[in-house]
Symmetry: C2
DNA sequence: CTGAAAGCGCTTACAG
DNA sequence: CTGAAAGCGCTTACAG
């Protein structure tokens, strides 16, 4: 290794102690203004770079956060969590933290294998992005490491998590359809697959119930198995006037499926999605959907974990971030 | 901070020295087999975790690699580099390295701002994923940090980089079209935007030249400005029988554009892409394209950087990884 | 305002 | 095979 500049080198050059250099560079009190300035200039001149490892050893903090993403949310067709990661990276940067992404394989999840970054104390805490098995979470919680869940939650009471407001998002969106005159509205999604889908369904269902609407028994259309693998959808016997899909991707597929059956969207049937991801713009027509506020969610999740790092007992519980409806061309006004 | 278990704790408990514990845990020689076993068991019992920072201080290595991705390659519609990152993460894991992603903003790129992870010595080297400005690269090269470029290269001679074999990939693909009877073949892409596009163009052009084909002057269709922003495409006056697109995404858009003009693919006109990304499967018809071997490229790039970390003078230069043609439904056989 | 001392947890080189 | 000593680069707590 090429030897690099240390605080001691700066100290020697300027004839001061390394303690003083440390104080000057870290903007701590106890150094004269003139000296501080001289030291900082010398640091730049000499190409000084902080040794994060040495700092780490003193305060026991790595200033890294592990971001765990289950493998099943990362395939070609799902850029969603990858985009989330970007927003997280930005937020972490604002707190002078860095992120280390860990893709959790199905195998490690099943066998309860902790990530290497945990075993090596390379990170101070974790953000888990996307629902993982309960047993895995339980194990993680027992390690007593600061953790924040992002975009999902469990029924454990004192767990911190940041979610999008799935319930009210879908409630608002369904109300919008009803306002436009829709009455026969089906929901597409496997409500046992994730807590997000279930909540979106319940938001839809609240709206249905509030409006005293009766819904056919096959108006709950399954779209995936419990591992998240998409399956062929079975359309209801009697066509609804609108489909509320649990996500944009499935709305995209549904529109293709309908077209193949000779049903045009939105002329013959309306379709709405959720997420406002790449599929919303790819669908023809473009989807009316609920936009998830990733930037805000990321910011909140990072603030939460940083807060927990400072104060291990801090707990903010479940925080839901509001999305907003994006109106596009996949809904017909029936009035 | 909750105090955690150190090697010293294990040593004290077993009545040995911490040196012995270190040797046992790291599988170094100089410990009896029985003792080694006892120490390892105690380590697990006591929940020992290595302190990566302390190790770092000794050998001056963080066991982290910085992955720099220019912001312009990360928008909603481009999951490509995010997927690359996943493969990189896997490869790094195999070398016991972790990755820290840094999204390089246009602003930092213009102002030659080095990433924070560099200034804090949080990483031992960098992989730059996606073409960045020459001035930025030059600055980076001057820092004398091990760097590998991934998916692009420059004309600097002794720089390590891993690229997909753009030239031969497109050459093979164009030959395939010609074998199928196509003669009027246009290329879509701004050849001044990136080195990849230029190489793909040259592969196409080699095939054209070798077959003695004359090409209309407007058979080079521009698709984006030099910042990578897509622009409206101007179709050639005389329609070709096939379009060779520099990437799947633009092939996807081209197919829509053609359809709007009443031209059906592949009946009236063939279209091929490059990358085999999400757009290849989304396009209707599915695209015949060249699949980039991300896994192999990632593996190679990580091996290269790890090699450079061990031996600063090692240099492998430009390595091109072969892709392979994926045959689907967007090409018509003219024979 | 300035600095000598001690220590964070590990590993290397050497002595026994 | 086992361990005492020294040191990696920084920061904290304290003395002057």
């Amino acid at each position: 290794m090429k030897q690099s500049v240390t605080m001691r080198d700066i100290a020697d050059k300027l004839g001061v102690s390394s303690v003083t250099v440390s104080k000057a560079i870290n903007d701590k009190e106890g150094v004269g203004e003139d000296l501080r300035k001289k030291i900082k200039e010398a640091a730049i001149d000499m190409g000084y770079r902080l040794n994060a490892a040495a700092k780490s050893m003193k305060d026991g903090l790595s200033y890294n956060i592990g971001i765990i993403i289950p493998e099943r949310f990362t395939d070609v067709t799902q850029g969603f969590y990858m985009r989330f990661y970007q927003d997280l990276a930005k937020s972490m940067d604002e707190h002078s933290y860095s992120g280390i992404m860990h893709i959790l394989s199905m195998e490690d999840e099943d066998n309860l294998i902790l990530p290497r970054v945990y075993l090596e104390k390379k990170v101070d805490g974790f953000i888990i992005l996307g629902q993982v098995r309960r047993s895995y979470i339980d194990m993680f919680l027992q390690t007593d490491t600061p953790i924040v869940f992002l975009d999902f939650y469990t029924d454990q009471p004192d767990v911190d998590c940041v979610i999008t407001d799935n319930f009210y998002g879908m409630y608002d969106l369904t109300n919008y359809l009803i306002r436009l005159g829709h009455r026969d509205i089906a929901f597409v999604g496997n409500i046992h697959a994730t807590s997000s889908i279930l909540d979106r369904y319940l938001g839809y269902y609240k709206s249905i119930l509030e409006h005293g609407i009766q819904v056919d028994s096959d108006y709950l259309v399954n779209d995936r198995d419990e591992n998240g693998q998409y399956i062929d959808m079975t359309l209801p016997a009697r066509m609804p006037s609108a489909f509320v899909c649990n996500c944009d991707q499935i709305a995209f597929y549904l529109i293709s499926l309908l077209r193949r059956k000779g049903v045009n969207v939105p002329e013959d049937c309306s379709v709405v999605g959720f997420d406002n991801d790449i599929y919303a713009g790819l669908a023809d027509p473009n989807l009316t959907t609920v936009e998830v506020n990733m930037a805000e969610m990321s910011k909140t999740a990072v603030s939460m974990i940083v807060e927990k790092l400072k104060n291990r007992n801090s707990s903010q519980g479940r925080v839901a971030i509001k999305g907003k409806i994006v109106y596009r061309d996949s809904v017909k006004d029936l009035r």
